[in-house]
Amino acid sequence: MSGLSEAGGEALRLIAGADPRLLDIVLLSLRVSLSAVAIACLVGLPLGAAIGVSRFHGRRALIVVLNALMGLPPVVVGLLVYLLLSRAGPLGELGLLFTPAAMVFAQAILITPIIAALSRQVVEDAWAEYHEQLRSLGENRVGAAMTLLWDLRYSLVTIVLAGFGRAAAEVGAVMIVGGNIDGVTRVMTTAIALETSKGDLPLALGLGVVLLSIVLAINAAAYVVKESAERRTG
């Protein structure tokens, strides 16, 4: 397909040209998605671990809901956050609509269920194995959750990468709450959507190749770090 080879050429031209506007878009994409992942981990990892080690009424229903939230459609989240942050909405005073902060907020909402649901599963499986010994040593549930999160850190790396991938890939939420404003809230995915709608498919594909390369590089780096650490601590 000539479109693909054109796209490849376009991608190389973009990278070699080091267009400052492209660089801005790439940096903003990374800032938004990495911040969203950080918030999602701060909330989602303890939440998932806590559910993983606890027993309480309605726990199974909660797990089903949490798992289902992994499939939240980005465009629906975008719409809900838009209504929340709009001047006509409850949080309008904050003036966050059409800013990168709104994009971080929306993506954090999207990814937190992924982090929580997957870490819940991983922690719960480990808890089944560890719980007698940890309780024997006098660990309480909260301490156990924290201990397990650290012990399972290598599995968690994969979960965090899944969350990051979802954030970096989505366009529905950031388009609605960010507004794709040139130089302010334009990220890789919304830029690709724009070029596609303008009919400039080679450029859109080229940007797509750049985005994929960045995500691939991040995954490769995480893998290398994880492998070397794992070799050291078993």
Binding site: R31, S35, A38, I39, L42, V43, P46, S86, R87, A88, G89, G92, G95, L96, L97, F98, T99, P100, A101, V104, F105, A108, V142, G179, N180, I181, D182, V184, L194, T196, S197, K198, G199, D200, L201
Partner: protein
């Protein structure tokens, strides 16, 4: 346990808070205007002259007006006079100023099954209906869509209700609709600006143009600060004043694609 995490989250969000130093306004406009490249040309001129940044949120006309109704923009800049007047009547806008016009063109495939051409858009639409030739519509409540539906009405068709199989209602913006028309070799009504910037033409070309009924008038309004106290009324009015001034109007006229002028300034035309 919870507090440090919550604070960290708030700090992260705050890191992205809009900086107090750079003044800016938010303008709700349409995708076709942005995709024509006009803002990319015009706004740097304005920013250099005044130091005020203009953030353009580009949506369909209906959506852009809704953003204004919610007070999420300071200025609304669209091209659908009836909808703009209703916006004013509802009390969401201060005043409407005409700014410029561009025109629509009827674009079609090389095979031209309805044999259209020349200047008469209404005759062309009738010919397309008679030939049951494929016609792509935006169908998205945009200014372009509403103009198209109105032209069909003049030609004698209640096109929204007709559900004719050759009439493809895609619910998309101008660019994606052009993509669809290009891949289907169908007729489509497009604004000249998006058409000139459009790369994926396939076998499409301009078949009918120049009919007065194809002219597309733009108007600009300040969102009503009495209704929406957060509106930046001084900065917003400054932008409006500039765009209807000779400096702004001159800049609009100077914007060209392939040597062709896209937008024709007419702020002085009170009837527009």
């Amino acid at each position: 346990m919870v507090m440090p995490r919550f604070l960290a989250a708030v700090l992260l969000l705050a890191a992205f808070a809009p900086s107090a130093e750079e003044p800016f306004i938010t303008v709700a406009s349409t995708t076709s205007t942005e995709q024509s490249g006009l803002f990319g040309y015009l706004l740097p001129i304005y920013e250099r002259q005044t130091g005020v940044k203009v953030h353009v949120v580009a949506l369909g006309t209906g959506q852009a007006l809704d953003v204004g109704r919610r007070g999420d923009a300071d200025v609304v800049f669209v091209h659908a006079r009836a909808a703009e007047e209703q916006f004013l009547a509802e009390g969401h806008g201060v005043r409407r100023n005409p700014v410029m016009y561009n025109d629509f063109v009827l674009v079609g495939p090389r095979s031209n099954p309805a044999h259209v051409g020349g200047k008469d858009i209404v005759a062309a639409l009738r010919a397309i209906a008679a030939a049951r030739a494929s016609f792509v519509s935006r169908g998205d409540r945009s200014g372009t869509h509403m103009a198209e539906v109105e032209l069909w009405r003049v030609a004698g068709f209640d096109i929204d209700k007709s559900k004719a199989p050759w009439y493809r209602d895609t619910g998309q913006g101008m660019g994606p609709a052009l993509n669809t028309a290009s891949s289907m070799n169908a007729y489509i009504l497009a604004d000249r600006g998006t058409w000139l910037a459009f790369r994926n033409r396939g076998e499409l070309s301009v078949l009918v143009e120049g009919d007065r009924r194809l002219f597309n008038q733009y108007g600009v309004m300040l969102v009503n600060p009495e209704r929406h106290p957060n509106v930046k009324k001084e900065l917003g009015q400054q932008f409006i004043d500039w765009i209807v001034s000779s400096a702004g109007q001159g800049a609009i006229a100077a914007y060209k694609i392939d040597g062709q002028q896209l937008f024709f300034p007419n702020a002085k035309d009170a009837a527009a």
